[in-house]
C-alpha cells in the first residue's frame, strides 16, 4: 500500500487542538467510542472485510487522484479504525491528527463504496466513528468546529441571532410583493400543512433562495409556515462533527417546532445533509425509527406540485440541462426519479449523466467538507475532478443540483476547471419557468422571472 502523501494544510482545528491531548485522554476516548458506542456492528464489519478492494473504484477521491491507493476506502479504514483497534488506542497526538484528516477531509460519507462491497460493509459508518472520536478530542477542521459551536448556542449553523431571522423573513416578504401580489410568509401559523425549514444561509447570505421558495409556496397556494423561534434552521453540522449530543438537540428542537405549530409535514431546504440529519442520523439518535413528522426534501414537494398542476410551466429552458444526484437524497433515499421528472418538465433538452442515480459520484463536498473554508478548498476541487469531467461529458450548459453543498462546490469547480456551464437549484429553475397566476401578478412583475 502506498504511503500517505498529502499537501500540508494549516488548520488551527488540527494543529492547535492536538497540543492539548495526552496519550491517556486519547486512549480513553478511543476505547469509549469503540467499546461503548460502536461494539457489535464495528466488530462485524472488521471481521467481515477481506480486503478485496472492490470498493476502490467507487470512491471519487480514489478516481480523482489517479487511483492513488491511499485514497481507497479500505486504505482509509486501515489507517484509522483498524490502526486504533490494533494499538488499543495507544497512539500519539500526531496520529490523531492523521485520523482526523482522513475522517473529516478524505471521505464524504457518501456510501457509494458500500454499494460495491460484496458484503455491503458500511464504510461510511466507520468514518463516522473516526469523526466521533476526533470530535470528542476536539480535533476537527476549525470552520466545522465553529459551526458546531453555533449549533450549540443558536441551533443554527451560522450564528443567526433570533431577531435577525424574523427581520430577514419580514424583509423577504416585502421584497416578494414586488413580484407576487399580497404574498405572505406566515410565521408561527398553527395548523399549517407545511413547515418550511430553510438552510441558515437562506437567512443570511442567500435570502434570494428563501424568496424563491416563498414565491413557489405562494404560487402553489400552499398552507405553509415557518417558526419565528429556534428550530427553524434545518442544518445540522454537529452531525458531521461527531457531536451526537448537539445533533440530537438540534433535531429535537426542529421536530418540537413542528409539533408546536401542529404542521403535517416539514420540508427542508434544497440540502442533502439536513435531510440526512432529520431522517436518519438525528432522528435515530433520539429513538425515533422514522422522523416523527413526515419529512420531505423539496425535490419531493416540487415533483408533487408539477405532477398535480399546482405549478404550471410557462416556458421551458432550451439550453441542455443535466443533474447532480445528491448522495443523501438519491443514493440514500431514491429521489433521483422525481428530480429528473421535475427537470424534464421544465427543460427541453435533458442530458443524463454517467454514472447516474444511486451510482452517481459524490460532489466531493458532502458531509461538511463544503464548510471547511479556504484552507481545504483545493481538496474539493481536486477530489471533484471525476465529478466535473462527468458533468462536462454531458454537454449540458446547466446543472441542476438540489443540495447546497453540491451546488456551491460544482459552481466553484466550474470556475476552477473553466467549464462552460452554471448551476441552479430546482427552486431557481421553477421560478424561472413557472407561470404566475393572473390574480397574483403585480405591475412590477412580468409573470415569471424572465
Amino acid at each position: 500500500m502506498a504511503r500517505m502523501q498529502r499537501r500540508t494544510v494549516a488548520d488551527l482545528g488540527f494543529d492547535e487542538t492536538i497540543k492539548n491531548l495526552s496519550p491517556d485522554k486519547i486512549a480513553r476516548t478511543i476505547r469509549y467510542v469503540l467499546e461503548k458506542e460502536a461494539a457489535a456492528r464495528l466488530k462485524a464489519y472488521v471481521d467481515t472485510c477481506i480486503h478485496c478492494g472492490l470498493c476502490n473504484e467507487a470512491c471519487h477521491f480514489y478516481v480523482s487522484y489517479d487511483r492513488d491507493p491511499s485514497y481507497a476506502p479500505v486504505a482509509k479504514v486501515r489507517q484509522t479504525i483498524w490502526d486504533m483497534i490494533e494499538k488499543k488506542g495507544k497512539v500519539d497526538p500526531e496520529t490523531v491528527k492523521t485520523y482526523a484528516r482522513i475522517g473529516f477531509t478524505e471521505c464524504n460519507i457518501c456510501r457509494r463504496c458500500s454499494m460495491y462491497c460484496p458484503f455491503g460493509i458500511d464504510i461510511g459508518y466507520m468514518m463516522i466513528l473516526v469523526r466521533r472520536i476526533c470530535g470528542l478530542l476536539k480535533v476537527a477542521p476549525s470552520y466545522l468546529q465553529d459551526q458546531g459551536y453555533s449549533h450549540m448556542y443558536t441551533y443554527s449553523q451560522s450564528w443567526v441571532a433570533q431577531d435577525d431571522w424574523v427581520d430577514t423573513v419580514q424583509f423577504v416578504e416585502e421584497e416578494l410583493r414586488m413580484n407576487i401580489k399580497n404574498a405572505r410568509i406566515p410565521l408561527d401559523k398553527e395548523g399549517a400543512e407545511i413547515m418550511y425549514s430553510p438552510h441558515s444561509l437562506e437567512a443570511k447570505f442567500k435570502t434570494n433562495l428563501l424568496a424563491n421558495i416563498a414565491k413557489i409556496m405562494n404560487v402553489a397556494r400552499v398552507d405553509w409556515t415557518m417558526p419565528s423561534f429556534d428550530g427553524w434552521d434545518s442544518t445540522n453540522q454537529s452531525m458531521h462533527l461527531g457531536d451526537h449530543e448537539t445533533m440530537g438537540m438540534v433535531e429535537r428542537m426542529h421536530f418540537s417546532a413542528g409539533f408546536r405549530l401542529k404542521v403535517k409535514k416539514i420540508v427542508t431546504s434544497e440540502c442533502g445533509h439536513s435531510f440526512r440529519a432529520a431522517v436518519y442520523d438525528g432522528s435515530r439518535s433520539l429513538g425515533w425509527k422514522e422522523p416523527p413528522i413526515t419529512y420531505l426534501q423539496p425535490t419531493q414537494l416540487f415533483f408533487e406540485f408539477v405532477r398535480d398542476g399546482r405549478i404550471r410551466i410557462a416556458r421551458k429552458i432550451e439550453e441542455p440541462v443535466t443533474v447532480q444526484d445528491p448522495c443523501s437524497i438519491v443514493r440514500n433515499r431514491g429521489l433521483g426519479g422525481m428530480l429528473r421528472s421535475v427537470v424534464k418538465a421544465a427543460c427541453e433538452d435533458f442530458r443524463e449523466v454517467d454514472p447516474c442515480l444511486e451510482h452517481n459520484y459524490c460532489c466531493a463536498a458532502g458531509s461538511g467538507v463544503i464548510n471547511y473554508g479556504p484552507p481545504w478548498k483545493f481538496l474539493r476541487m481536486e477530489g471533484g475532478r471525476a465529478k466535473i469531467r462527468q458533468l462536462q461529458a454531458t454537454g449540458a450548459k446547466i446543472v441542476i443540483a438540489p443540495c447546497h453543498s453540491c451546488h456551491k462546490t460544482i459552481e466553484e469547480m466550474i470556475d476552477y476547471y473553466k467549464a462552460d456551464m452554471h448551476v441552479m437549484f430546482i427552486s431557481e429553475l421553477l421560478v424561472k419557468t413557472m407561470e404566475i397566476p393572473e390574480d397574483m401578478r403585480t405591475p412590477e412583475g412580468k409573470g415569471s422571472d424572465q
Partner: protein, 419 residues
C-alpha cells in the same frame, strides 16, 4: 373577566364577528387570534402601501404601523402586538404603544395570569428583555429566549457575555454563554445553555448547561450540580420546592434525576417532557422503552401500550389521577389516556383538555381540513372552518366552543352531551 366562573356560560350561540367581511375590507388579513373567554377575535390587517393595523371584532386600532407581527391576547384578555412605526419597534397593548422603543422586539411572552408582558429586545445593537414597558438596565452582546417568573415580576434570558469573532473556536470553548435574570448575569459561563425555568416562588432559576463534550449537568442560580452526565434534557423545579428534576443519560440510557442523583429505577432509550402531578408527588414523562416504541411512564412505570411514531408531553387531570397525551402512529394522531388510546384517529389533534373533575377530556381535532371537537374519543356532530381548543365550564357540564363557520366567528356554549 379572567376568571372562568365569570364568563357567560348560558348555552347558546353568539356571533362575534363577520370575518369574511374583513377579507373584503382589507387586501391582506393575517392569522386570527381569540380571547380565552371567546368574546373577542382579532387579526393584523394590511390596508396597502405598508399601512398595517389591528382589527378587533371588526373595529380598527387607531395605531397604524409599517409592520406588525406576533399578535396575541394575553391570558387576561389584553390584545398585544409588536409594531414598527417610524423605523422603531414598540409593543402596543390594546391600541396604546409603550413609550419605550427598540430596534427589534420578539418572543412576546406573558406571565401565567397575563398581568406581565415581556419580550426580547434589541436596542443600539445591545440585547435584553423588556418587562411591562421597561427594559433591563444591563444589556448584553446577545440575548435569546424569554422566561417569565410565576409571579410575573422577574425575567430570564440566555445571554452571550462577550463578543467572540466567528472562527475563534478557542474563546467560545472557554464559555461565553450564561443566564441573566433581571439583567444580572450568573457569575459562571458555560459552553451552552438551554431549558431555563423558575422555581414556583420565582426566586431560583434552573437551566441545562454544557461544560464540555459529554459533560452536561444542571445549574441552579449559576451553580452546577456536582455530578455530570453524558447528556441531559430540560430541568424543572418541583412545584412548591427547590428540588430540580431533569432527564439524564447514564451509560447510554436515560433516567430521571433529582438534584443530581437518579431517582427512577428504570432507564429508557429516551426520556423527556417530564410533568408533575398537581396533587401528588407523581411524575409522568415521555419515554421510549425500546427503539421506536414510545409511551408515557408514571413514576418510572411505563404504560403497557406503546406507539411507533411519537408521544407528546403528558397532561395530568386536575385531580392528578389521570394522565393523557397526544400519540401518533402510522402518521395518524389520537389521544391516549392512562395507557389506552382512543379508537378514533385524526389528521391532527391538539392537547387534551380535562374537565374540572378529570372525568372527561375534550380536544380540538382535524380531519381532511375540517375541524371539530372530540369528547372522550367521540367526534362532535358539527364541523368548523376553524376552531380553537375547547374550554370546560367550572361545573364541567358545558363546553365553550370558539369557532369560525361560514365566514363568521362564533362563541358557542354547549352542554357536553350536545357537542
Amino acid at each position: 373577566m379572567n376568571d372562568v366562573a365569570d364568563w357567560d356560560w348560558a348555552p347558546g350561540d353568539k356571533c362575534i364577528a363577520d370575518v369574511a367581511d374583513w377579507k373584503r375590507r382589507f387586501p391582506v388579513v393575517h392569522e386570527y387570534t381569540v380571547t380565552n373567554d371567546g368574546e373577542k377575535i382579532a387579526a393584523i390587517v394590511e390596508q396597502g402601501n405598508k399601512a398595517v393595523t389591528v382589527c378587533v371584532n371588526g373595529e380598527l386600532w387607531p395605531v397604524v404601523a409599517e409592520r406588525a407581527w406576533s399578535l396575541k391576547f394575553s391570558p387576561d384578555n389584553r390584545l398585544v402586538c409588536p409594531m414598527l412605526r417610524e423605523y422603531e419597534w414598540s409593543i402596543v397593548v390594546d391600541g396604546s404603544p409603550w413609550e419605550e422603543t427598540y430596534d427589534y422586539v420578539w418572543n412576546l411572552t406573558f406571565s401565567a395570569d397575563g398581568k406581565s408582558i415581556a419580550a426580547n429586545i434589541k436596542k443600539d445593537n445591545e440585547f435584553g428583555i423588556c418587562l411591562n414597558g421597561r427594559s433591563w438596565e444591563t444589556r448584553f452582546t446577545e440575548a435569546r429566549d424569554v422566561v417569565v417568573s410565576p409571579d410575573g415580576s422577574r425575567t430570564a434570558s440566555m445571554v452571550k457575555v462577550r463578543r467572540v469573532a466567528t472562527l475563534d473556536i478557542f474563546s467560545f470553548a472557554e464559555g461565553v454563554i450564561t443566564v441573566a435574570v433581571d439583567g444580572e448575569a450568573w457569575e459562571r459561563n458555560f459552553l451552552s445553555i438551554w431549558g431555563m425555568s423558575f422555581s414556583s416562588d420565582s426566586r431560583m432559576v434552573a437551566a441545562g448547561v454544557n461544560l464540555d463534550r459529554l459533560t452536561y449537568t444542571v445549574a441552579i442560580n449559576g451553580v452546577p450540580w456536582e455530578r455530570t452526565f453524558s447528556h441531559i434534557w430540560e430541568p424543572l423545579f418541583k412545584p412548591g420546592s427547590y428540588d430540580v428534576f431533569a432527564p439524564v443519560k447514564i451509560d447510554g440510557l436515560w433516567t430521571l434525576a433529582m438534584n443530581g442523583s437518579p431517582v427512577w429505577d428504570n432507564s429508557f432509550v429516551q426520556l423527556w417532557e417530564h410533568r408533575f402531578s398537581p396533587t401528588t408527588n407523581e411524575i409522568a414523562a415521555v419515554v421510549a422503552v425500546q427503539f421506536g416504541k414510545w409511551t408515557v411512564a408514571r413514576d418510572a412505570v411505563p404504560w403497557g401500550k406503546t406507539f411507533r411514531d411519537a408521544v407528546l408531553a403528558p397532561v395530568f387531570s386536575p385531580d392528578g389521577k389521570r394522565v393523557a397525551a397526544i400519540v401518533k402512529e402510522d402518521d395518524r394522531y389520537t389521544i391516549a389516556v392512562d395507557g389506552t388510546a382512543w379508537n378514533e384517529r385524526f389528521d391532527m389533534v391538539w392537547d387534551p383538555v380535562f374537565g374540572p373533575d378529570g372525568s372527561r377530556i375534550a380536544v380540538k381535532a382535524e380531519r381532511k381540513g375540517a375541524y371539530f371537537i372530540a369528547v372522550d374519543g367521540r367526534p362532535g356532530r358539527e364541523s368548523y372552518d376553524y376552531l380553537w381548543p375547547p374550554i370546560f365550564s367550572p361545573d364541567g357540564e358545558k363546553v365553550l366552543i370558539r369557532c369560525i363557520q361560514g365566514g363568521k366567528y362564533y362563541r358557542r356554549v354547549r352542554p357536553v352531551s350536545d357537542v
